[in-house]
Symmetry: C2
Subunit: 177 residues, 2 copies
């Protein structure tokens, strides 16, 4: 049973820079891709910028529908994340192929991913940088976490199939949000 | 002795989403801030997007001079990174205050940071999103690494002074760059 996360806390999920999964739905088909090129843009409402290459099958879906879901995977999903980056959504059902379970979202058409510890329902709010950079500015309109996944460790893609897993967490006196 | 890094490899430094330090130089003063809101935009030439809040002293410097340096700190610099986020450059010399050593860059005025394991000299190439989002698109024009820092572990800011340190690295078959 997913639990709603206050939108004011969304930045804590993306600020550390984990690999995420991005889902889209277009013309009756869903798709999922792995994504590392994303960043927070504002706290609340949470705005995110991301690069979805026009070589990705997801690009046309996101540009056309202006909707996506960002799923945040913990380390146990790393093999599926790598596999998601290795196949093209044009010819296969990647959810089925990867063994990922789609769940209905509340406010957008693209599905949540049951196996992710957090899912963010998003809508494109600024498309001015799409043509030049494949850069979408999206707003998180609803956020979910899976309370069953305690202290999930995220993964960070270093390139060439190498992923750094979160290790120790250090606490320092900081006013940075 | 810093070593030049091919620009084609820059994405491997920023893709995993580490906290970085950003230096600027303006009207005879240098400054440094901590930054987590950044992402890669293109591979080569390496383009990066970043959010520098207009509440930061660095904002005016970056907007005016269109130059900055991104330093990537390893975990041993974590206390300085947190401290950089806790003070405002308007009233103090943050390099001196934090015990960071500025080094001359090759192509831009802002300094490299001797203690960082990588330093990226950058110029703003697109300022269209500054007014609305404080979003700068910058190009990395020269990149340096410190060969003396072997296998540096980066840190990822989770908010409220908590930083995840890179832990294990897992290798998976992946075609993702």
């Amino acid at each position: 049973m997913l639990k709603e996360l206050p939108l004011s806390q969304v930045y804590q999920l993306l600020k550390p820079g984990p690999v995420v999964l991005l889902t889209t739905a277009h013309k009756g088909r869903t798709n999922v891709m792995a994504m590392s090129w994303h960043m927070m843009v504002d706290f609340e409402p949470p705005l995110v910028a991301c690069i979805v290459s026009n070589r990705n099958f997801s690009f046309t879906a996101l540009r056309s529908t202006k909707e996506c879901v960002i799923g945040v995977p913990a380390v146990r999903l790393a093999p599926k994340v790598a596999a998601a980056g290795n196949c093209h959504g044009k010819n296969i059902d990647k959810f089925r192929n990867l063994g990922l379970t789609p769940l209905p979202a509340r406010l957008v058409d693209p599905p949540l991913i049951a196996q992710c510890f957090a899912n963010l329902e998003c809508r494109t709010v600024d498309g001015r940088m799409i043509d030049k950079y494949n850069l979408f500015v999206i707003e998180v309109v609803k956020a979910w976490v899976d309370p069953a996944q305690k202290e999930p460790k995220t993964i960070h893609h270093q390139g060439h199939g190498k992923f750094a897993v979160d290790g120790a967490v250090i606490a320092l006196r900081s006013k940075m949000r």
